[in-house]
Symmetry: C2
DNA sequence: TTGAAAGCGCTAACAT
DNA sequence: ATGTTAGCGCTTTCAA
């Protein structure tokens, strides 16, 4: 009796044989069906223990098509972005609490990859999906919603379909950041945006514009740069900005990867923050305090977003007919020393 | 003809019916079996396209038990650690290239969670697993290896069983870091270790000790602190160290979360790096340059480790009998301004 | 209260 | 070259 046997998967059949009952009865015991004799139940449970039986999730999913409580897909645009890592953590904690496993798909902002993963997710018969679509009109995710698969969107919604969504106050958050900059006396405030087609980028830009207007600062479109939400574009666009004949005196960075990239450029140029150039980031990181200088940032409740998304998804899986909801989370301006 | 129909999963059966052939023939077409008439193949392929047919991965796995080329499990101790995020990226890229999906399990250094995930992974009939076990004698992973499931370990091996493993030169890396510190004139060099039972922690400690010896510095055990590889323990242990009657003049941090935690403490105390306290981290981050001050660190090729692990796993899935191998990756000391 | 059997979608052995 | 069929492990009628 080697320990190898401990790990050979035993099936319903083996349990049934050993317990001297039919597989149907074993199945009933496992699923807590009330219609089973207490004695039989005890006997079967004992055998299940002895055999270290674990139900085969694959067979279960094949049989049940869905809603069998075991697999959730997560479609993430960029795992390098600490924001999504936190969201993922939130999702994962809730999933674990509810015995769901996660199938994680990081599509790196590549639409082809997104499509492949969506196909895979579907053909894995996931019970539901948490996704951050590439844009509001993402046909791939939209179709999936239409097909009836339970879906919760995070960070970005879908325009053409009714879907649960967890958002943050992008516009307000951006406003508070830029307003802070303006009130501190900065006049030439630049905005480095993430992917322009993202609703979040647009909303943050709106907040930026409004704050400038409210503070009587004219909008200079050379100070607005659009990137791809990645570290490299933070590096590059910050460089462009700093090389301008009349460079900005402050930068509002559209996400944390961009912030990190911009910081890199600023440091390479040997500029001092905030005396030579101020910077404020959208999205905080727990180690922002250890940056040079400690970063002022708009904090999104990323972990909480993940939790809410997962909770909502489970609710929807259990009741596909429930009305859709959209939840908007607050942001918080964390003032440190970068402006 | 609503777009909803586009997403209803069609089965082999439907394709077969529509194409006027048997499901076996369709299966053959899908799996590129040579034994099929070119004309038939064309006809079937057309129907597959029309119906937007995608094979059901669940049925496939149920049927094949494993080695059907589609699902890899990843068991990660801490997704908050940027090192593992990079490893994950490497794994994911290779998986994607080979059409594997990833089922991600982050057990947050919780052994119960680890066990549950291992059970799930097994009952999902994954083709293989990439894992960073909790310690060398991790029975749970060891048993799984014995059961014959293809497994590759990263960052830490398994003592009681033969298994593929991708390691880094922990001892050399630590040595180079501490040697650098010693040569720079630091005398009281502390080591904040991650979880003591991890082979990597032990190897790094060995490198630390050897470097001290080689430089004629006596080992002071009050300067060695053991934590749990997390940010908080970096914060706390650094505090303890700094509060010592005779505090260290330099800190060697056992991993990047600890480094970040230690930095936080140092900044909170208002100490200047490196004049009042030097610090060097094991494991680099791409934004280390933007830390205060730019961090000197031992760089591990994390992304590469992930890639190699996934490549090796796929090799093993395709040939379970191949001899096991262990690969040791080099580290590199990146000198910036923190010491 | 329990069992027998159909069927989820697929592959592969066997038959034609 | 193609079709028929058994069976992977499970849930769920339907019968007993």
């Amino acid at each position: 009796m080697s320990s190898e046997n401990d790990y050979k998967m035993s099936s319903l059949n083996e349990v049934a044989k050993k317990a001297g009952v039919s597989i149907a009865t074993v199945s009933r015991v496992i699923n807590n069906s009330p219609k089973v004799n207490p004695e039989t139940r005890l006997k079967v449970q004992q055998v299940i223990k002895d055999l270290k039986y674990h139900p085969n999730r694959v067979a279960k999913r094949l049989r049940n098509k869905s809603a069998s409580g075991n697999l959730i897909g997560v479609l993430i645009p960029d795992i390098q972005n600490p924001f999504y890592v936190e969201v993922l953590r939130g999702i994962e904690d809730v999933a674990y609490e509810n015995k769901y496993a996660l199938i994680m798909c990081n599509f790196s902002q590549d639409e082809k990859k997104e499509q492949l993963y969506l196909d895979i997710l579907q053909s894995e018969s996931v019970d539901g999906l948490i996704a951050a679509p590439t844009n509001e009109h993402d046909q791939k995710v939209t179709n999936l919603v239409k097909s009836g698969l339970p879906i919760v969107c995070v960070d970005r919604g879908l325009a053409d379909v009714d879907v649960d969504v967890i958002l943050v106050e992008n516009q307000n958050g951006a406003y508070s950041a830029v307003d802070h900059l303006a009130k501190a006396g900065y006049k030439r405030i630049a905005y480095i945006s993430g992917l322009r087609q993202l609703p979040s980028s647009q909303e943050r830009e709106a907040g930026y514009s409004n704050a400038l207007k409210a503070n009587g600062i004219p909008i200079d479109r050379t100070l607005i740069r659009y990137g791809d939400s990645r570290h490299e574009s933070g590096v590059k666009l910050c460089e462009e900005l700093l090389n301008l004949p009349s460079p900005p005196d402050a930068i509002f960075a559209g996400n944390n990867l961009i912030t990190l990239g911009a910081l890199e450029t600023i440091h390479k140029k040997g500029l001092t923050i905030p005396s030579q150039i101020a910077i404020i980031g959208f999205d905080d990181m727990y180690w922002s305090i250890s940056l040079n200088p400690p970063l002022t940032a708009v904090k999104q409740p990323a972990y909480e977003i993940g939790r809410r998304a997962a909770e909502q998804l489970i609710l929807r899986i259990n009741d596909p007919a429930r009305p859709t909801m959209s939840m908007v989370m607050k942001t918080e301006l964390v003032v440190r020393s970068s402006c």
